[in-house]
Amino acid sequence: MSFFDKFPSMSRDELLDFKKNVDSGFSEFTGEYGEAIEAFFDPLLWFLVWFEKLLLSTPWPIILFIVGALAWAGSRSIKIVIGAILAFVAIGYFGMWVDTISTLAIVSVATLICIAIGIPMGILMARSKYAQALVTPLLDIMQTIPAFVYLIPVVMLLGIGKVPGLIAVCIYALPPIVRLTNLGIRLVSKEALEAADAFGASYRQRLFGVQIPLALPNIFAGINQTIMMALSMVVITSMIGVAGLGVPVLRSISNQYLALGLLNGLAIVALAIIFDRVTQEYGKRLQKHRYGDHS
């Protein structure tokens, strides 16, 4: 009865061979195409470095002003503007300015990439049920697979640095914007679409004139989620050499620096809250006209 005592598995040697084959196969692939792929991502690296340098070389009062202005543009709330500026003042005062700016740079660029890829993907999913059936499990995997697992091939392929960090962030942060774009478009009322059809709207007129505008609040909720998830990847990306608030956090874990960890952790939280409030308020304003407030 020993068959039932132990799960029938490959022999050790077979398993070892299997793993070796996969590893060597991927190594070969890396050797063959690694440079080409790296070159492909060069413009991205260049842009990220340029953007980070731009932010770092901007005098801090101007950054404070821009933060305040963006917060105002998004939220139209003086409370949120003051909160955002105070948070940045505290960050600077506690010596975390440079790390915060680096984090801000990578999160911004990651969000832009996610928007550029995610919204068209969401549109495609809403348009075809086959696309939806194909993409949904992919998004599930992207969201649940432990980040360390996909860091391995990314690092093997591209080494350590900003670009693999950025890719890791994007893999994790992309799903919500795709999902919510898809959802938002699918939730557009049948009546609104029928009216567009009845008046002879073309596919484009229907998409850009009706579906996307009506899905915008959901799309914005997706952007908000994407930013939050990008921020939550900061510590993990610092493990593969991305500068930012994650680096001191990592250092404080290995050296048991409580205060250092706490301060940088709180800085991440502060960024998250600012982003969240500003984008949420903006999203709310986007759908104000749907309710009968006589203005």
Binding site: E191, A192, E194, A195, A196, D197, A198, F199, G200, A201, S202, Q205, G209, V210, P213, L214, L216, H289, R290, Y291, G292, D293, H294, S295
Partner: protein, 349 residues
């Protein structure tokens, strides 16, 4: 035949996985209920033949689920038919390519919806201009046109409001203005006023009739409300379970209902206020009595006929010429409700 705008011939629509197969069962006489039960297909429309006259208001009436929305959506092909042809101005709508169909919808047929179908993210003016923008009209032109049409439906000054800020009646005026703005000759109205309160509904009917006097559109008007049908319809077609069971002059439908279902429908109307004397007069020479215009309704002539010594009156045309006569007995008969022949069979779903 030039005054027929839309001609629908042999139109069938069956919802389900294999409509082509199911259509044969229907042709062989299977009922809607049986088709659903035995073959899991929904009979939408069955052998519809209707000619819609140009520049008139043609009403299509029936209870909920009888296929009204399905029928009207075939005219601009928002729904694809299972079988049949729809000819509009000499073109078969069902044979049009995608581009041709789009042009048809942009320029020839516009639509007003029961739930308004407005775009909540656009202002009232932008909604009215929608069809024009889709057509590719310049923004300036679209703006001034939409202003003009808003004025016509009594909504000037509301250009910059959002639909959610307006009452239902006002929203539907926006819907009407949007449909009129494209200058399409055919106006498809699917229960356009059914969602409105009775008073607002009457207002909207007045607005529509007033505009129609001037614009002479070809209007297909769907309703489940007989009073509304009689008030605005130049002709009426009655649908039951996807089938036209009677069509023609509203007066003829009231006087000679062909079916219990229709008898049921016309049970509660005020016949004296709807039936015109020309519909029941006897053609012929003048008689000794008062004269009434042919379009007068029974209720209006009744006191005069009763008062006359012979209980008889003349019927005149627009020129005042006598074209026939009418007796008190006939008026009384016409006012009396037609008998429901089979009293047990009055519950239609």
């Amino acid at each position: 035949m030039s005054d027929i705008a839309i001609s629908i011939k042999g139109l069938y629509k069956i919802f389900g996985k294999h409509p082509e197969k199911a259509v044969q069962y229907v042709k062989d006489g299977m009922s809607k209920a049986d088709l659903l039960e035995k073959h899991n297909h929904v009979l939408g429309l069955k052998n519809i033949n209707i000619d819609i006259p140009a520049h008139k208001i043609s009403v299509i009436m029936g209870l909920s689920g009888s296929g009204k929305s399905t029928l009207i959506r075939h005219i601009n092909r928002l729904i694809e038919p299972t079988k049949g042809s729809i000819n509009a101005y000499g073109e078969d709508v069902l044979l049009m390519s995608k581009d041709e169909l789009r042009e048809f919808r942009r320029h020839k047929a516009s639509m007003v919806f029961q739930k308004f179908g407005l775009h909540v993210h656009k202002t009232v003016a932008e909604n009215v201009a929608y069809g024009l923008v889709i057509q590719g009209t310049s923004l300036d032109q679209a703006k001034s046109d939409s202003h003009k049409w808003l004025e016509r439906v009594g909504l000037d000054g509301f250009e910059d409001y959002y639909p959610a800020q307006l009452s239902g009646g006002m929203q539907q005026r926006v819907g009407l203005a949007r449909a009129l703005a494209t200058d399409a000759d055919i106006l498809l109205m699917d229960e356009a006023f059914s969602a409105l309160d009775p008073l607002i509904k009457a207002d909207m009917q007045d607005i529509l009739l007033g505009l129609q006097k001037e614009l002479n559109k070809t209007i297909v008007f769907i309703t489940h409300d007989l009073d509304e049908a009689l008030r605005i319809g130049d002709s009426i077609a009655i649908l039951r379970d996807g089938e036209v069971i009677q069509q023609g002059d509203p007066q003829a439908i009231i006087l000679k209902p062909e079916d219990d279902y229709i008898v049921d429908f016309i049970q509660d109307i005020n016949r004296g206020r709807i039936i015109r004397i020309k519909s029941i007069m006897n053609k012929g020479n003048s008689v000794d009595g008062p004269s009434f215009h042919q379009n007068d309704v029974l209720e209006d002539v009744l006191p005069g006929v009763v008062a006359s010594s012979n209980h008889i009156a003349n019927v005149t045309n627009d020129n005042g010429d006598i074209i026939g006569s009418i007796e008190l007995k006939e008026i009384a008969n016409a006012i009396a409700k037609p008998a429901v022949e089979n009293n047990t069979n009055t519950n239609y779903k």
